[in-house]
Symmetry: C2
Subunit: 495 residues, 2 copies
């Protein structure tokens, strides 16, 4: 059976009403504007359901007429593709109107939220309700989706967001609605969100970085607020990188550091700071617990970092009162305290100019500020990290680009790195050069044995062509859970 987009659009329009279905070419083109500079794909329509029931029916219509859907939450997958599907012929499935905070449980510290709930909205809600709970926010826009980011296995300032997931509600590619784990049966008025694995095969992991269904709600862990929270900052010059990484590994290994650490190179930090004399690398992490514990551990951290030539500073909420405080430090503190804000966005708007040409500071896609991300996962081992950084710098140099690098250890063993290159999306030469650089980075790193934890939609096909048996399994799962391949074809999968 071949695809029948017209019939599908007619049924979707009848289901949702015409106001929730866009087919006008200029509007579809606007939806595909993206900070990554990717060319627009052929798009059938954009659909904006408001309920889970509508999503189930949309998937049914997609199956009946063989028109695939490309779901996104708020579409801010910046640096990796925004709302642009890997392949032509999809209808965009905008889940932004599924934006209910269904429940927040203060005692067991979780929220049940829909894909359209932004991190800014959830932070605001927790503050309004006066709840002693902290959202594990990312540095992205307050207008970005919590669910979208966790399904991409993104990382917040406290921990990996995929580890925040306590349950998912999914419309499978078969059209069936499923809730995972103990959530499958919550008829009884009893807590069911206290154990992520449930009984039987653990399913939540299947719906991260995949294309087997449309996630319509997630149970998301919130961090219980602690008596004390301080932000550690430290810096060190480039020749000490290897030593500093090994020290950080030790600090995680003995439990001194327990929350994700971000280490930025100067290119990255200079986009955010009002200062000019920053050192080559700057590390930032939250340290929280009882007041006595925080006092104890500050001393331990200071001593360990001194041994590798890094000077530790600690910032608390009291420092925010100082009007002279570097806005970067202020923004960073608020991120670590669970307040989503625009410190990173503002930094991005200084990569090309002074940011005064930006109308909507929450939306990178609508600007000329271009960004592409390359994201290898490295061991927390000084020598290996140094080698990777040198390879990245050398590769970028060939394209006359300076990479902005973040090295984010999540534990004693592994670190997520984010390598950004910046360019002007209105300059076709700069766009082509950045794309060539990104392709070269992925290939050079892969060839040297480095592996990736996230990837943009254009390098995805290159990576899914490697590691054959795993992608064979992903293909078998695709056929089982989405037999007509109507969900996001080619996204973290070959089919």
């Amino acid at each position: 059976m071949s695809a029948n987009p017209q019939a599908a659009v007619a049924e979707w329009s009848a289901l949702l009403g015409r106001g929730a279905v866009t087919t006008a070419p200029d509007e579809l083109a606007a939806l595909q504007r993206n900070t990554t500079g990717y060319a627009a794909r052929t798009i059938v329509a954009a659909l904006r359901p408001s309920t889970v029931d509508e999503v189930e029916q949309i998937v049914g219509i997609a199956r009946a007429h063989r028109v695939p859907l490309y779901p996104y939450s708020t579409g801010k997958n910046w640096g990796l593709g925004s709302r642009v599907p890997p392949r032509d012929g999809c209808a965009l499935l905008d889940l932004g109107r599924l934006n209910r905070i269904r429940r927040v449980d203060a005692k067991h510290h979780y929220a049940i939220i829909e894909p359209g709930v932004t991190q800014g909205r959830l932070c605001e809600y927790l503050r309004e309700q006066g709840l002693p709970l902290v959202l594990n926010v990312t540095g992205s826009s307050p207008a970005s989706s919590v669910v979208g980011n966790l399904l991409e296995r993104g990382t917040g300032f406290r921990n990996q967001r995929t580890e925040d997931v306590r349950g998912l509600e999914v419309v499978l590619g078969t059209g069936e609605l499923v809730r995972t784990g103990y959530w499958a049966n919550d008829d009884h008025d009893r807590e069911v969100h206290h154990y992520r694995y449930g009984m039987g095969p653990y399913l939540d992991g299947l719906f991260t970085q995949s294309n087997f269904g449309v996630v319509t709600s997630a149970v998301v862990n919130l961090v219980p607020a602690q008596e004390a929270m301080t932000m550690l900052m430290f810096s060190f010059p480039d020749p000490r990188l290897s030593e500093a990484i090994d020290t950080v590994s030790d600090l995680f290994r003995d439990g001194t550091l327990r929350s994700i650490l971000h280490i930025f190179n100067d290119k990255r930090i200079l986009t955010m700071s009002s200062g000019t004399g920053v050192a080559t690398w700057s590390g930032i992490a939250a340290v929280s617990g009882s007041a006595r514990y925080v006092e104890f551990v500050r001393a331990e951290i200071t001593e360990a970092l001194e041994r590798c030539g890094a000077q530790a500073s600690f910032f608390t909420a009291e420092h925010l009162a100082d009007p002279e405080l570097d806005p970067m430090v202020r923004g960073m503190f608020r991120l670590h305290a669970g307040e989503s804000n625009e410190v990173f966005m503002n930094g991005l708007f200084h990569t090309l100019g002074d940011g005064t040409d930006v109308d909507d500071p929450t939306d990178l896609d609508g600007t000329r500020y271009g960004m592409l991300a390359c994201m290898p996962f490295l061991p927390v081992a000084g020598e290996t990290v140094t080698e990777a950084v040198e390879l990245v710098e050398k590769t970028c140099q060939h394209y006359d680009l300076v990479p902005a690098i973040a090295l984010n250890p999540v534990d004693a063993d592994g670190l997520e790195s984010v390598i950004n290159v910046y360019f002007d999306t209105t300059d076709p030469d700069q766009v082509a050069n950045a794309h060539a650089c990104s392709a070269a980075l992925h290939r050079a790193l892969y060839a040297e044995g480095f592996r990736f934890y996230r990837v943009d939609i254009e390098n995805m096909a290159y990576l899914t062509a490697q590691d054959t048996p795993v992608w064979t399994v992903a293909g078998l799962l695709k056929d089982a859970l989405d037999p007509d391949h109507v969900i996001a074809p080619g996204r973290y999968n070959r089919s």
Copy 2:
């Protein structure tokens, strides 16, 4: 096509040699002797491969002749079914000869091991090599399998074993060999076991508590040895249970407790202790880190527990020199220090008699000591836990049984409970009574909204009949990864 067991056995014998294929009825009956008192199933044969290649071929033969396999590592799934398949007509697939420790990496603290590697053997290996690594051991026999237990989502004395998994090697029901995550491609001499999620859908979780393939190797996290390790013990009377549970939740919430806690009732602890005057509930946990940290946190824990009427004691390696030390305390300390031992086994052998009738203290199945486990996962909330314990005690009372209860908080929110009933497997009335009690416990707890994290092979069908959509997904995955249903039919699945 119908099953052809004779043809399958002929091919398996040709493949493995006759010494590795058992068909003698008395030997098959002996393999099915089990501490749970379950009746033997009809068994086609028992197969004992030595290599992964043989496992692939065994699965191929099983598919060709439609004879299902029931894989086990060392078969010590005591209290839940030992080596007994849920259904008739399987060949037992004994993986005990796949017993290589393929690699231990001290820097990144993991081991790559096969299913036949026992926790005793791995502990011994780490000690022999003088590596500063601690295995997260369970209280089960040193002869039990690390891989088998983690695939069941068992729990060690440090953390949940499923969270120790960094990668799996699996022969799917299709016969294809797959390595998950970055392990899929380790051609390059670069560390690939530092990130459990890899890229694309997270697959490891699919192979825990399921029947989609035969796991032939796992990359297992080891705990880096710390400068200091002390074992916390505390006890409190029954009326303080609710308060103690809430205090424990607080201690996990602020990061004071970081390692799994075990809280035993008197029935459970009396089977292990040489003392007689134990309080109703006893809690035990490892506290480790730098010497300064351990000193700091001991004071914090002592103070918090005192507030709920519990007296904390701390034991270090130095206490082991005292010949008067209660053997239970000695055994517990060694478990928390990562040394597998028989303190729990010895306890079990005192449930009916004095243990002098036991020939092989590492093998419960060969004795008359009967045990059935019921394993609900509870919130770490005093009121709910008290309610569950009362329901369990009331249900058991009806069968004139006293439950041995362990409540094992894994974090601030969730606790694994293990409810054991003991009986004499040589007394048919006691066996029938225990089975009836176990069925009643599962039904009573389920009806009250409690959910389970593990289940025995006979109550499995009851639980997989609940929570419909999740088990529907498990069925779709079964068809995709094991299309001929040759792996462990009915195990944590309907098919």
